[in-house]
């Protein structure tokens, strides 16, 4: 396996949780690399450790042992504050439940990450607008989430992930809360982003969704199994 030409690389990652004195190995020595511009899916049944893996890739958590490198910077030992800054700049999250703020316009929802990195007001508006146009919602800027369909809401969430121009777009079951038609639509948007040269990682339990990626990494019992 190539180690250092990837945008993201994980080396021998262990994550051990202690529950009531019993150690649970959620990740049991995972090594993988994602190259720049790649479209990768991580698939596995529940309990396979894919959520834990997603948290570590997404800088929401740090591994018990092992080394994580994102754009040549080691991030596996960083403080909470540094992790927050990396999440803001390098990771674009897309969640299963969309996680949009209610009673807040699409434009403001997309602006949210920019609020946390000191972007100026006029830049915030412009960037957010551009991101929404990228996902074909240029005509829905002032709509609130409850005025949008599920597919549209997820597209707003994708625009929010795009707006900071991150290294990786990390989607956690992006179609899990959508009907099959909207699900296809969202996968179409992600494929489009990949074509534009973005690095996309999709975490899912659905092998049909996973198969639409360039490469699929199968996870079972905290290890890569393919």
């Amino acid at each position: 396996m190539t180690k250092n030409n990837g945008i993201l690389s994980l080396e021998n990652i262990f994550k051990i949780y202690k529950m009531d004195g019993i150690s649970v190995k959620a990740l049991n020595g995972v090594t993988l690399t994602v190259k720049k511009g790649e479209f990768v899916s991580i698939v596995g049944p529940s309990g396979s450790g894919k959520s834990t893996l997603m948290h570590i890739i997404g800088c929401l958590d740090i591994p018990t042992s092992g080394k994580v490198t994102l754009e040549h910077h080691e991030i596996s030992r960083l403080s909470e504050n540094s992790l927050a800054k990396i999440r803001n700049k390098k990771i674009g999250f897309v969640f299963q439940q969309f996680n949009l703020l209610a009673r807040t316009s699409a434009l403001e929802n997309v602006s949210l990450p920019l609020f946390y990195n000191g972007t100026t007001d006029s830049d915030i508006r412009e960037k957010a607008k551009k991101a929404l146009e990228t996902v074909d919602l240029g005509d829905r800027l002032e709509h609130h989430p409850n005025q949008l369909s599920g597919g549209q809401q997820q597209r707003v969430a994708i625009a929010r992930a795009l707006v900071t121009d991150p290294a990786i777009i990390l989607a956690d079951e992006p179609t899990g809360n959508l009907d099959s038609k909207s699900g296809l639509e969202i996968m179409g948007v992600l494929k489009q982003l990949h074509k534009q040269g973005r690095t996309v990682v999709v975490v899912t339990h659905d092998s049909k969704i996973a198969s639409q990626a360039q490469r699929t990494i199968k996870l079972g019992d905290g290890r890569i199994v393919n």
């Binding site: 999440r87 969640f95 949210l112 946390y116 000191g118």
Partner: protein, 405 residues
């Protein structure tokens, strides 16, 4: 993260929950409004009484029967009642007042008074009035204005004539629109010829002449069988000489009475005593109101804690999108401070408005220091009671928070 963006985010968060924000701030609104209102009542009362006393004329010395300790008055007030009871057993005589006026150069006028209560009757109308028996130079000290007629003169005092000057309210109650000059009013068992009616002065209580009847002191002493007098007011010529004159008056009276059964007070001394009593009252009122401000602060903390739990998912999202713990802490702290300061400002407006309305019925003064105090305290309440919920929010794990339903 610029603070301006955080303020925007906080305002936005408060706006999305308008009615809850208002209800949360309500505790502080009521607290601040009552602090402002009650302090305005206290300071209004103080201003009113101070004015009334200054109305009595400047450079005034009071000689009262009995040995009164002013410090005792301001501490408890038991001495106050003993002062009034000693009026009845006074050993001061009319001649003492004459001696003070004639014998001490610095004294312009010395006015003796006796006081009594009696019904006043005229053609079936009857009111209970306070009768002030005094000397003709009373008008030099109080400078009353006359609606009709005039005050009695020295010869009428010396001969003990039954003449009376009515306060405005007494004249109105007994005579209505009718001209009372030259009529006879019955005070107790005797008929008095009315020779003057005073202009309305306003105010209430012992300082206002409106509900009083003035008669020559000699007449009053005879009618009420009083040999002595209740009080002497003496006006000093120059304000620089007030305290030295107090000692002179004490010297004269000691010589004449042979014992120290009297008290000589100057107006400044009385004023400072009354002020200190009213200051204590104001602080006590403000303190009671401040407790409600504290309760308001606890209300903010309570709602903010609920809000943190309710918005766990939102906090998780914000953290995932790059908000550091400090940023989350600051956001929730700003929300709490906005609630309390916003509530404080509304409370200041309501309290001042309430004070203006109350001013139609009693004296009130909104003081700047109470406004500043209320503002500072409400901001502090926001910070102190916002810290705990904000810390709770900042310490949430983003993973747990995002999972929270």
């Amino acid at each position: 993260m610029p603070i301006r963006q955080l303020i925007k985010i906080s305002i936005k968060a408060l706006q999305t929950n308008k009615s809850r924000s208002l209800l949360t701030a309500l505790g502080v609104i009521i607290g601040v409004a009552s602090v402002i209102l009650l302090i305005s009542v206290g300071s209004g009362l103080k201003g009113y009484i101070t004015n009334q006393m200054q109305d009595m004329g400047s450079n005034l010395i009071m000689v009262m029967p009995g040995d009164i300790d002013l410090d005792d008055v301001s501490m408890g007030g038991s001495a106050m009642s003993s002062a009034f009871s000693s009026m009845a057993t006074s050993k001061l005589k009319l001649s003492d007042a004459h001696e003070i006026e004639k014998g001490i150069l610095q004294i312009q006028d010395a006015v003796a008074m006796v006081m009594a209560s009696s019904p006043a009757r005229y053609e079936g109308e009857s009111v209970l009035v306070q009768i002030i028996g005094t000397t003709e130079n009373y008008i030099n000290i109080r400078e009353p204005e006359f609606a009709k007629g005039s005050f009695f003169v020295e010869s009428e005092v010396n001969s003990g004539r039954k003449v009376a000057v009515l306060g405005h309210k007494v004249a109105e109650d007994l005579f209505g629109e009718k001209d009372s000059i030259g009529e006879k009013v019955k005070l107790g068992e005797y008929r008095y010829l009315i020779m003057g009616v005073m202009e309305e002065k306003g105010g209430q209580g012992s300082m206002s002449p409106d509900d009083k009847v003035f008669v020559p002191i000699t007449t009053a002493q005879r009618q009420f069988n009083q040999d002595n007098i209740s009080i002497i007011f003496a006006q000093v010529k120059s304000s620089d000489e007030v305290s030295s004159t107090v000692s002179l008056v004490e010297g004269v009276l000691k010589r004449r009475l042979k014992e120290e059964d009297f008290t000589v007070l100057d107006q400044k001394e009385i004023l400072s005593t009354v002020s200190s009593i009213l200051d204590t009252l104001t602080v006590a009122l403000g303190g009671i109101a401040a407790i409600s401000l504290l309760v308001g602060g606890i209300g903010i903390m309570n709602i903010m804690l609920v809000s943190v739990t309710e918005r766990t998912h939102e906090i998780g999202l914000r953290k995932a999108l790059g908000a550091t713990p400090e940023v989350i802490l600051t956001q929730f702290l700003i929300e709490a401070v906005f609630l309390s300061v916003g509530g404080g400002i509304i409370g200041i407006v309501l309290g001042s408005g309430g004070s203006l309305i109350l001013n139609m019925f009693m004296p009130t003064t909104v003081t700047l220091w109470s406004v500043i105090l209320a503002f500072v305290v409400s901001a502090t309440v926001g910070i102190v009671f916002g810290i705990a919920p904000a810390r709770k929010a900042s310490q949430l794990s983003p993973i747990e928070a995002l999972r929270y339903e």
